[in-house]
Symmetry: D2
Subunit: 285 residues, 4 copies
């Protein structure tokens, strides 16, 4: 069990030094998953083969945590903004927190809808405490599995392999790894936001066409081990992310259609404006 | 003491899910403090009154943690680069980690030497594991107490108040608060780096001319309470930073020479590329 | 009449020092006008009242110059990209040059479709000589009447005033001036491109809700005086733009709904990668 | 309905449509040449072999035009700012115009002093009409021969070849061509400024170690042919720049130490905020 830090009583009135966000509200809260796989030709963006696996993994994980999950496939810019606007307009009273995961292409401070780019700042600002008061003081978690769209290899394997192939062993021939250089994680920021990036500036983001992205794979696996395992108690979410960093940073490309991808490393990062400790456990019914 | 998470044995060989950085080496390591107060007139930058208090606070804190502290006042760009180059060229074998704190003006991805600007990326890249191998796999912590230089109020109080005045009560007339909008925390990044910012994008950074910056004040106070207090054990450094976020975000400007500063809030942030948990305790002799 | 510069014959073979683009081909070429007035609510962008007047003015001007004009109202991002893609895919053999005018909101290197933003670089690159060979070596002119979208006043006057009002005197009550700070004119660039901006960085763009934007008003008027007037010969297009700079820079806001707009100046600019002199005259039939 | 644009004579007083800057004042004005060849090791910048030739060429050209030329070699950031500050503080009454040429390394909106970077905006703003009133309404010309510093080949030939070698034929072995990708020409801007860039975004800048940069070579040669030749009259300076664009864009790398430089093209550009036509002729005594 965790150490409890106390402040000596002083003349000044202080909040306790290390408080936890309240994660025992009547509801866990909403989780939105934006899963963009196919893009209009005018964008020049490739199909993101493997993203459905990511979306499914995240849906399972957040459902197990007690979130009400909203999964959206192939959203245009207007769709995406309307979905998040609707979400920000909801009454989150009684919710512990809010999660938004965006699986798409990315580019310098932007993510792709199926028909173009949106500034991340625009998406995030809707959930600031002053604009969405029922989330004020509650953790707002954004997860970006996004790769820079302009330098894509041609990674799409024959469709039948992906769609119809048997669940492949790790050494089979039916999947490949896509490597992209990552977008810059510049982000608007405000109290109680946490931004989780699959890839830090100057590194590469990898997506396995069969198993999904390295980042979501390892996030899912770490959550399973730390939070959902028999006998687990509540787990510090920053520890989860740190463990994901470790896992992803130890991977290396073993198979890819692009020679230049071999040996390219991936390094995730997170940016925290949290003001309390954030623990997740299985939600009590 | 802390929970230890284990992975079920699988076919794949994994490192443990949640490891700690080894903080029990023969030496804690080096800590560099760059304390820039006065700037050449060509830069157009004001004197950063109060920064000496910050530098002294950080020196005490890092000394107590067992660091060998190197404090430098009013460094030019070349000085600053040479100081860090010398540091990166040292043999850090046997050190637990490395710390660099920069107290200066800042501007879009840059910090100020006394005679101009330097890209933060340039400073940080010297310490990447591939370039400075004796720090590879060890935590590299950068702390930025930097405010955007171009929108400064004229805050300098009479010199004797700052230098000679008695230790002032919080309601005295001898100090004031400087408010700046913050620089964008875009950062180069690599495995095992941790970047701690006094202020996130879109928020304001505050420096009390008598007590030093809010961020360093609260960092010092939280370290004292959590790490240095009688009976404290080792403390997760991300918890320290989270507590600092809390403290700083609860402050508000009560006195300033600039009307427009009243009510301006400050929100710090940190960006983590850490791959293990980072605990600090008093260094065993 | 203009000076003709000659090079002394040398060992090296040179093109003449000052050549003119050939503007006497069988066709003048295509001119595209993108006229975006109304934007989807998710963009947060105001209606650009007055832009129809700009579009009509530009259409008349380019028609008089002999261009085949394609005017498009309220184009989405996909529409806009498809329109320009179609244009770039045309065979421009026999055309003198190409013009594209975009009347919309803008933002840091982007322009707005009705549903979101597009990078200007993406629009422009389609017309590079290596990608659109039938335009290689010919002038490619882009005109941007775009204002930064995020700081709009609320300028929309009652609809009937704009639509039905009698030809208003300059002192009437039926129009107003909208002031925006301008976007940064960073542009991709390549041989034989010319980019004409209504507003340079750090200045303000103005649109009269009744007469259209200052820039297009003055462009139209200068073209009328220099090119279309009885007895005019061919006119250096950079002289036209310089005259427009003069006119626009001499204007000042006399009436606006926003107090802060009073006295705000506008400064247009152009960026030239032209390699020959560009003359326009009335196209010989 | 609206829009009747003819230039009827109106009550409003207009300046003439196409005026020339007055270039017949008692003095031509000051021209500053910043010639940075060697850089402090902390900058990581290579020696810019060949830049002395550029500086000498520009000095001759501007002297012939009647400028009082101030040439400075290897200026630190503070030196550079002080030199320009002194220049901006001069009384330019009676001067026709002002020129500043900077020969150095460059990087995203910055140029290098010998010890670090300076924002171009900072240099330019000193000469704005509101800050330097004796230059208000007069052309202010900035020339940047600057290449991005971070991707330099290792181009330095043996010193004796450069210094002592006989005037080499174009096929000799004593010079080589350095190729860099160019900086982004984003610029602050204000009325009556003209910014001349050796290289536009996305293109490459070339410097011959024996003859100097392509851009300054061609600028010098075009000025000689158009302005200084027996019998020349006054010449439109934008025509000069257009001719330089032509010359530079027709060059190709024939010899270089870096294979990847072969065939790399260079495309200069200029950005005009001029409000009148700018003619140069030999200054009448
Ligand atoms: Zn991508
Ligand atoms: Zn500052
Ligand atoms: Zn606008
Ligand atoms: Zn260079």
């Amino acid at each position: 069990d965790r150490v409890i830090y106390e402040l000596k009583p002083t003349g000044r009135k202080h909040t306790p030094l290390l408080d936890n966000y309240n994660m025992n509200g009547p509801k866990r809260g909403h989780a939105v998953i934006i899963n963009n796989e196919s893009f209009h030709w005018t964008t020049g963006m490739n199909k993101r083969v493997g993203t459905d696996v990511d979306a499914q993994n995240l849906k399972r994980t957040f459902t197990k945590l007690g979130f009400k999950v909203h999964k959206h496939k192939d959203t245009s810019c207007i769709d995406l903004l309307e979905i998040l606007q609707d979400m920000a307009a909801k009454d989150h009273t009684g919710s512990d927190c809010f999660v938004c995961a965006i699986l798409s292409h990315g580019d310098d401070g932007c993510v792709y809808g199926t028909d173009g780019i949106i500034k991340i700042r625009k998406l995030v600002d809707m959930f600031r405490g002053d604009i969405c008061p029922s989330l004020a003081g509650k953790p707002k978690i954004f997860i970006f599995q996004a790769c820079r769209g302009t330098k894509h290899e041609i990674p799409v394997p024959p469709a039948q392999d992906v769609v119809d192939g048997p669940m492949a062993d790790e050494d089979d021939e039916f999947h490949t790894v896509v490597v992209d250089s990552g977008p810059t994680p510049t982000l608007p920021s405000a109290s109680d936001f946490l931004f989780c990036y699959s890839v830090a500036e100057g590194y590469y983001s990898h997506r396995d066409t069969l198993y999904g992205s390295w980042y979501v794979q390892d996030f899912t696996s770490v959550m399973n081990s730390l939070v959902f395992k028999e006998g687990s108690e509540s787990v510090d979410f920053l520890d989860v992310l740190t463990a994901v960093h470790r896992r992803v940073s130890e991977r290396r490309v073993e198979r890819t259609m692009s020679q230049s991808a071999l040996g390219k490393k991936q390094m995730p990062c997170f940016l925290s404006m949290l003001t309390k400790k954030l623990y997740f456990s299985k939600k009590a019914k």
